[in-house]
């Protein structure tokens, strides 16, 4: 039976939305700036618009999960992000949670 594309797209986005924070935190185990982070996520199969990514990075920083600093690179000022100590703990906790959800879903599907 064919599925409604619009409905599928909306549900797919809902499914993805929950995983973006975990993906961003995981990729920031290594220091990156916005553009390289976006490229790394894209290479992992997670496309994210700058207009979604940058506000997310600011929110995670305001929540104490990331630390950032401005540095000059290639004659341009860029803001580099990395996990804070609390972000590292949060990543570990979320990873466990994600694996538990995955295990549950594997049983059901």
């Amino acid at each position: 039976m064919t599925i409604d594309n619009e409905l599928f797209e909306s549900m797919r986005l809902e499914l993805r939305r929950g995983s973006l924070v975990l993906a961003v935190l995981a990729r920031l185990r290594e220091e990156r700036y916005g553009y390289t982070l976006r490229q790394a996520l894209s290479a992992d199969g997670l496309e994210m618009e700058e207009s979604t990514l940058y506000p997310l990075l600011r929110r995670l920083e305001s929540q104490g999960l990331l630390a950032s600093e401005w540095r000059e690179e290639e004659k341009r000022k860029k803001r580099f992000y990395r996990l804070s100590p609390m972000g590292t703990s949060m990543l570990a906790a979320l990873t466990d949670e994600w694996r538990a959800i995955n295990a549950s879903l594997d049983k059901i599907l």
Binding site: Y54, R58, K78, R79
Partner: protein, 361 residues
């Protein structure tokens, strides 16, 4: 100014001042990096159309800036939305009933003809409805931004849900609601509205009444002082204007106190004696008003009679002759209001003495 500069200026204008420079600097870097990548892909410098396409891919400045905002990104969020919708429905229902009743009375006393009444009712309902929805939305906006939800949203009881059946806006729901509030079970039902539900309904009604009284909610395109002109040689307009002048601030104080009291009743339905004492006080105020209207107000010469017999004769003549003058109608309304208030006060006195509400938990 470059296209990127104009774009960033539009985004910056929507951002909080404290973060503006930081955010626009980061966005500028993102945009310039993206443009470099696009130029590398195309193998040539970007034209203005190419630059515009890149900026469009970033998103509209309002959307981009909106994502940086802290706090709720909605006026009324998903949790509060059902409450907002309920409040709007109930207020509109009350306002519709009042508007129609006022129009009927005005038509009956000859103040307007039927077509004017219909036209004014529709236009008044629309303008008042918009005002009510605006007030409900503003209230929702304020509540959405509180740290803690109000008690009536989180600490509710199943027996308080009768009021919420009324907002189903069908005749069955209204019958259940009205039957409950009059203390009589609706057909086939034994359920009565709980004190909390009645208190909330009263509070909503008083808010609508207060807004109409102070002129913020034009119901029926009518102010009390505009009600009626000269009928049978009596200038009711002048009388009502004098009544409004005398009662304007006392009525406001009464409404405000009543709303506060109803909200207290809703929050503390178990405080039977306190609410009974409050009902007695409000009842005493209403009795005072009725007595003043009867004996000392500008309306007194029209409605006051010197004995019960004269009262009965006057009402009897109206029934027999079918001639219900406005003065006779007002006389009956004031007398009935006094009797009903005394009856309500006797119930409140019983609750104050016993500490229990008869027929409830």
């Amino acid at each position: 100014m470059t296209l990127t500069g104009r774009y960033l200026k539009a985004v910056a204008a929507q951002l909080p001042r404290a973060d503006r420079d930081d955010i626009t600097a980061e966005l500028q870097d993102a945009i310039e990096t993206r443009m470099e990548a696009r130029a590398a892909d195309l193998g040539r410098p970007l034209t203005e159309a190419d630059e515009e396409a890149v900026l469009r891919e970033m998103g509209h400045p309002l959307s981009v800036a909106g994502r940086y905002g802290s706090g709720p990104h909605h006026i009324v969020g998903p949790d509060l939305y059902p409450w907002w919708m309920f409040g709007v429905k109930v207020s509109l229902m009350i306002m519709a009933v009042v508007t129609v009743v006022v129009a009927i009375i005005r038509t009956l006393v000859g103040d307007v003809d039927v077509s004017q009444a219909i036209g004014q009712t529709i236009s008044s309902f629309i303008s008042s409805g918009i005002t009510l929805i605006g007030i409900a939305t503003l209230t929702g906006y304020i509540l959405e931004r509180q740290k803690v939800r109000p008690d009536f949203m989180v600490k509710w009881r199943v027996k308080d849900l009768g009021l919420f059946e009324m907002a189903g806006m069908d005749t069955d729901a209204l019958a259940r609601g009205v039957g409950g509030s009059l203390g009589k079970p609706a057909a086939g039902q034994s359920y009565r509205m709980s004190p909390t539900a009645r208190a909330l309904a009263s509070a909503v009604g008083c808010v609508v009444g207060l807004l109409w009284w102070i002129g913020l909610l034009p119901i029926g395109v009518i102010r009390v002082e505009e009600f009626g002109t000269a009928i049978n040689g009596i200038d009711y307009g002048l009388i009502f204007r004098q009544l409004v002048d005398a009662l304007y601030w006392p009525v406001i104080v009464w409404f405000v106190a009543r709303i506060a009291f109803d909200l207290y009743r809703a929050a503390r339905p178990e405080a039977v004696r306190v609410t009974a004492a409050g009902d007695l006080i409000f009842g005493a105020v209403q009795v005072t008003l009725s007595v003043w209207l009867w004996q000392s107000s500008p309306l007194s010469p029209l409605i006051q009679v010197d004995s019960v017999q004269t009262f009965v004769e006057r009402v009897g003549n109206a029934f027999q002759g079918g001639d219900w003058s406005l003065a006779t109608i007002l006389m009956v309304v004031v007398a009935w209001s006094l009797i009903a208030t005394l009856f309500t006060m006797s119930g409140a006195l019983a609750r104050l003495v016993t500490g229990r509400t008869p027929g409830r938990d």
